[in-house]
Symmetry: C2
Subunit: 281 residues, 2 copies
């Protein structure tokens, strides 16, 4: 039995942790100071509460799954405990951020760092298309061996730390920027009085791209906007690292930053979303 | 018989002019100083060469179809001839640019300005999906009546000058920015060693969006890049006019500006395009 620490089990971390429990591993988490909702989620998934990050130094593997903006801070906190096992950063961060996490853990001791990233939603048995966990770095095959579940497809990339993160940046850099682009253009068309005509043209000319649908996911976009902003800043940094234009993703981050202010609006609809973009700031 | 002036018949202008000739109109153009290729195109389409813009003052209608960056200059040149008929700006410009063209022509005389924009390629009889000509402004229905061809579908928008331009900005603001985004992310993935894995993930997760195909149109993108840059700056201005994020389109314009430098590379392939983006500037 392998001991695996999950920091911090949100909906993705709890689902991935639950799969590892199913395989037969001892999956632990540090519950002190976390919300009742997080405790409920972790308990339901079968995770063992060891209270503190310090208690996770006993783990063979620690998996970090957290908002992108917190990834470095979580790595520093684990490094500070003197953890010397395998550290998997599975967050949506730039390759440079992933490499800096190696440095943080190496400075603290002798932990092996594996780069990871997840494409898809929280894995659930029975999903038509399984969620993918991409892994890279010298310890990647060993981490892949921990999983044995059809709900999560593990893909080991032939590359160093940074490769799994780059894959995620390229994927989220398309999907999340495309949605923000559609929303921004729809707001422009609304302000200029041609919203209905634009949606009709999108539907007619580009049915496969589902631009109208993409521009209209008010509820989901508003609920996740606070998390998307940080992820898109990481994508922008990933492009800038190669002197490629990074304005797509700063603009998309700005769209999500504006929408994040809708978090106190219950069940926001399209009018709320458009008003927030056009008049909110 | 209505006399219609076309300035300046590129591939789109020649095709639209040719349809108007088929309807039975007298379609004229100013050939002095234009290239042999332009003369060939205009002659083939049945356009009558009246040599100078001054000779187009006799026209009932002048249609401007030119690169976006030249739209204002063309309007000023027509205004300077004292033209008092109906002026149709059918270019891919921002609503503000379209409105400023009204001002240029009003200052010169009494021309009626109709806002137009075209979605689709040069219209050809037999195309499955006809190209659309959007029109707006008080003179729009009269301009629509000039056309009678299945190869071009004319849509009169219920709005003032600016509406047809806004529609085009919303449409091109999606298609051309999405292609540039896909190309930029593919270049990033190539630089980070995960290009094949990213294309596989795009194909698997988002088959309808055809992101891989969109990222790989090296030849067409390189050939049109010089024209797309100006159009995307107009889209950026259209978003900025409503305080919406305009970075998507400046970034896309930067991608096309880099690719425009490939114009002297015969038949550029994907390696040429990626190298230009990653190392060209």
């Amino acid at each position: 039995m392998v001991m695996i620490g999950m920091v911090h089990p949100g909906s993705m971390g709890a689902a991935v942790g639950g799969l590892l429990v199913e395989v037969g591993h001892d999956v632990a988490w540090a519950g002190d100071g976390r919300s009742p909702a997080t405790h409920d989620r972790a308990t339901t998934a079968g995770l063992r509460d060891v209270a503190t990050l310090a208690a996770l130094t006993e783990a063979d593997v620690v998996v970090s799954l957290c908002p992108p903006a917190a990834a470095t801070q979580v790595a520093e906190a684990i490094a500070a405990t003197g953890f010397v096992g395998t550290y998997v950063d599975a967050n949506a961060v730039s390759p440079d951020t992933a490499r800096s996490i190696v440095d943080h853990l190496a400075a603290a001791g002798a932990a092996t760092v594996v780069d990871g990233s997840i494409v898809g939603g929280p894995p659930r048995p029975g999903d038509d298309v399984p969620t993918r966990l991409y892994l890279s770095g010298v310890g990647a095959p060993d981490v892949a061996d921990l999983f044995d579940d059809e709900a999560l497809e593990v893909v080991v990339l032939d590359g160093p730390v940074g490769a799994a993160s780059a894959l995620k940046m390229g994927f989220a850099g398309w999907t999340k920027a495309a949605s923000a682009l559609a929303v921004a253009l729809r707001a422009m068309a609304r302000a200029d009085g041609v919203e209905a005509a634009l949606l009709a043209e999108w539907d007619r000319s580009l049915p496969g791209m589902r631009v109208t649908e993409r521009s209209g996911r008010a509820g989901p976009l508003a609920a996740k906007a606070w998390r998307f902003e940080g992820e898109l800043r990481e994508v922008a940094a990933s492009l800038a690292a190669h002197d490629l234009p990074d304005g797509f993703h700063h603009a998309a981050a700005d769209v999500y930053a504006a929408l994040a202010d809708l978090k106190d609006t219950p069940d926001p609809d399209m009018d709320d979303l458009m008003a927030q973009l056009l008049h909110g700031r």
